[in-house]
């Protein structure tokens, strides 16, 4: 294998890694806001799925992908609201609420999809105007001829779809919001020690709802990306566990925004590798099966959780409903 060929392979793998890590990034950040405020969210998967469905359906019907995006975000926010009502207002079990949302998303998307499009629960293929298209950044074509940097800029950094850039910009924004603003400080405090926040006269309920609804918006963006950018139609169960990989990425990132970027890119890379090179031959000695690459995000997360490599400590008040002292 000559150098040029190897370089091309790397460019393709990097481009694919970015495309595949976007959904994870949105969902992972959604989980980050929610869990930092003390609400465990295993309903990320369901919110991605319901948003994917409604964004594809609405952009198909209206022919406007942005209206589709809005519908997807709206649907995901309705789910987030249910999660909030159950686990904040009625102090129910946050995990069970998440499980319920996942069931509902799996069922509703297919039941409504079948009644709507009569195509066995899928949406029709989206026409041009109902999909997001690649943005070409300035000078992409002029810089292409520069060795190494040129193709990297033209094919990896430029030429992605709008939501990709939004996802990556959300990382510094989230860091700034959580660690440099009063809102962020309070939001994190609500997840660590809600009683102290309450004593300071700040509403725990309001901050938790804010966090859960932000998670709804972000999952909505992730689902819309899935159906109108990564693919070009809604398919049954198309989130296929990405909400859970995002949850794994969140733990892997120890609930921190910049680490989340790294873990989502890593898990996106692993998915890209399993797509590009199903079975990896290691110097002809043995073969790494594709299932191992697929399971690696989960195995790594268990290892991190077990504290064998660094320790992931969850927000302290996570999972507990807040009951005001009387």
């Amino acid at each position: 294998m000559d150098f040029a060929h190897a370089f091309l392979q790397i460019i393709i793998a990097m481009d694919m890694t970015i495309r595949l890590s976007v959904v994870l990034l949105f969902a992972c950040l959604a989980g980050l806001y929610s869990e930092r405020a003390g609400i465990f969210d295993i309903g990320l998967e369901g919110k991605l799925l319901i948003s994917a469905f409604f964004s594809a359906s609405f952009s198909y019907e209206t022919g406007n992908v942005w209206l589709g995006l809005l519908a997807g975000v709206g649907a995901s926010m309705v789910f987030a609201l249910i999660h909030g009502i159950a686990s904040i207002t009625y102090r129910g079990n946050q995990l069970i609420a998440g499980v319920a949302l996942n069931f509902l998303a799996s069922g509703l998307t297919i039941v409504i999809g079948l009644a709507w499009f009569k195509e066995g629960g899928q949406s029709p293929a989206l026409p041009q105007s109902s999909r997001f298209h690649e943005l070409t950044l300035p000078f992409a074509d002029t810089l292409r001829d520069i060795p190494l940097f040129g193709p990297l800029y033209a094919d990896v950094i430029s030429g992605q779809k709008p939501l990709v850039y939004i996802a990556f910009l959300l990382i510094p924004f989230t860091w700034w919001l959580l660690f440099r603003t009063r809102f962020g400080l309070r939001l994190r405090a609500v997840g660590e020690n809600p009683a102290s926040v309450d004593t300071a006269g700040v509403s725990v309920i309001r901050y938790r709802y804010a966090a859960v609804m932000i998670a709804g918006v972000l999952c909505g963006l992730g689902g819309a990306y899935l159906a109108t950018s990564q693919a070009s139609a809604f398919g049954r169960e198309m989130s296929s566990g990405r909400g859970f990989i995002a949850l794994a990425a969140l733990i892997f990132a120890k609930w921190r925004p910049w680490y989340a970027l790294m873990s989502c890119l890593l898990f996106g890379f692993l998915e890209a590798v399993s797509n590009l090179y199903p079975n990896i031959d290691v110097f002809g000695i043995f073969e790494i099966p594709v299932q191992f690459t697929q399971a690696l995000p989960y195995i790594l997360t268990v290892v991190i959780l077990a504290g064998f490599v660094g320790k992931a400590v969850a927000p302290r008040a996570g999972g507990e409903p807040y009951v005001k002292e009387r």
């Binding site: 069931f103 999809g113 504290g307």
Partner: protein
């Protein structure tokens, strides 16, 4: 004094939640422009109107009893075992390995060993997250979710590799020896002169599930260990003062839970498929959560809830044939709303009922 009589807690609240769930699901059916009354009557008919359909209902109910009991035992020790799906899948490997190892002469000999094999594999798959929870403080919900996915990858690896039937195009093992065939309900009732559908998959595992339910009841409410599990579940701190080891209870409860989830493969892999296939659990591990919630974590409640969910599952398949405008995934919507109302919105349902009973009591005194 209790806020309401016990019967209201164990019977009335679940029934109200069920009604709410059905009403919400009915609105979903209305929203897609179909008739909810027709849908529900097709589902009930589709689950009960012939011995063939009853046989399918019991077959699904058997699965849900096992997974419901699995979730409930963990719940009693204050753990949420969301990994029934993976534990059941891996237990299928245990059952397959045992049944493929010998040319079993008769099912009565094969069954105990298959139970051991399946139970052991399921228990191991639950024991690792339990150990990580007890010793390394890793959240068991997350680790069991991760183990579901690791199990799925493992199944794909094994069934495309060493366990694969070389003469088959799909990922499945070779058929088990004929001697390992479990009697179906038809074969069990025929000697008694009672007719039952030949094609229905329900088999002797149904009785095993009932026995497991009794065993769980006996363990939890009639033994010292069960008392320790429940004490730990109510108050881990008080339990540790009483000399109950958190490590021990966490491990034992999860091992029992994993072994119970593993019994699903006795019903499906040994009883119905008679070979190992890739996706045989089909979400039953997650339905177990709904069953345990609906059944209030008590074996009797779980049996009843499992029968209800078995009816839903079988009714859903019939719905697809009889009323093609409604997808069979309507069942998932009903299950989801049941989980929502019995699990997450319990307080919302409970509060008004408590108020009514308080008012009634005031009226009496």
């Amino acid at each position: 004094m209790d806020k309401m009589p016990k019967w209201a807690d164990v019977v009335l609240i679940p029934l109200i939640s069920l009604c709410l769930a059905l009403i919400v699901s009915g609105f979903v059916v209305l929203a897609i422009g179909e008739d909810p009354i027709r849908a529900i009557s097709i589902m009930v008919n589709g689950a009960l109107s012939s011995t063939n359909k009853i046989g399918y209902t019991l077959y699904y109910a058997t699965n849900y009893m096992f997974t419901g009991l699995a979730v409930a035992v963990a719940f009693h020790a204050r753990m949420f075992n969301i990994g029934g799906e993976g534990q059941a899948a891996i237990s299928g490997v245990g059952v397959a390995v045992v049944l493929l190892a010998f040319d079993w002469p008769h099912w009565t000999i094969a069954l105990p060993f298959a139970i051991l094999g399946g139970g052991l594999f399921g228990a191991i798959w639950a024991a690792i997250p339990a150990y990580l929870q007890a010793r390394r403080d890793s959240h068991i919900v997350i680790t069991t979710i991760m183990f579901n996915y690791i199990a799925a990858a493992m199944m794909g690896f094994l069934l495309n590799g060493i366990l694969k039937n070389p003469n088959s195009q799909v990922a499945e093992s070779v058929n088990f020896p004929a001697g390992a065939h479990l009697p179906t309900i038809h074969e069990m009732l025929a000697p008694l002169g009672i007719g039952f559908s030949k094609s229905a998959p329900a088999n002797v595992s149904f009785l095993l599930a009932l026995f497991c339910a009794w065993l769980v009841w006996f363990l939890l409410w009639r033994t010292r260990l069960g008392y320790a599990i429940r004490a730990f579940g109510h108050s881990p701190h008080a339990a540790s003062y009483a000399g109950i080891s958190a490590f021990k209870i966490t491990m034992i409860a999860m091992i029992i839970s994993g072994a119970l989830a593993g019994m699903l493969s006795i019903n499906v892999v040994m009883g119905e498929q008679e070979r190992l296939i890739q996706f045989f659990v089909e979400g039953a591990g997650f339905v177990g959560i709904a069953v345990a919630l609906m059944g209030r974590n008590h074996p009797i409640g779980i049996i009843l809830a499992a029968l209800l969910f078995g009816m839903l599952a079988q009714g859903g398949f019939e719905l697809q044939f009889e009323y093609p405008e409604i997808s069979k995934e309507m069942v998932l919507v009903i299950q989801g709303t049941i989980i929502l109302f019995t699990g997450a919105l319990d307080y919302m349902v409970r509060k008004p009922v408590e108020k009514i009973f308080a008012r009634l009591r005031e009226g009496q005194s």
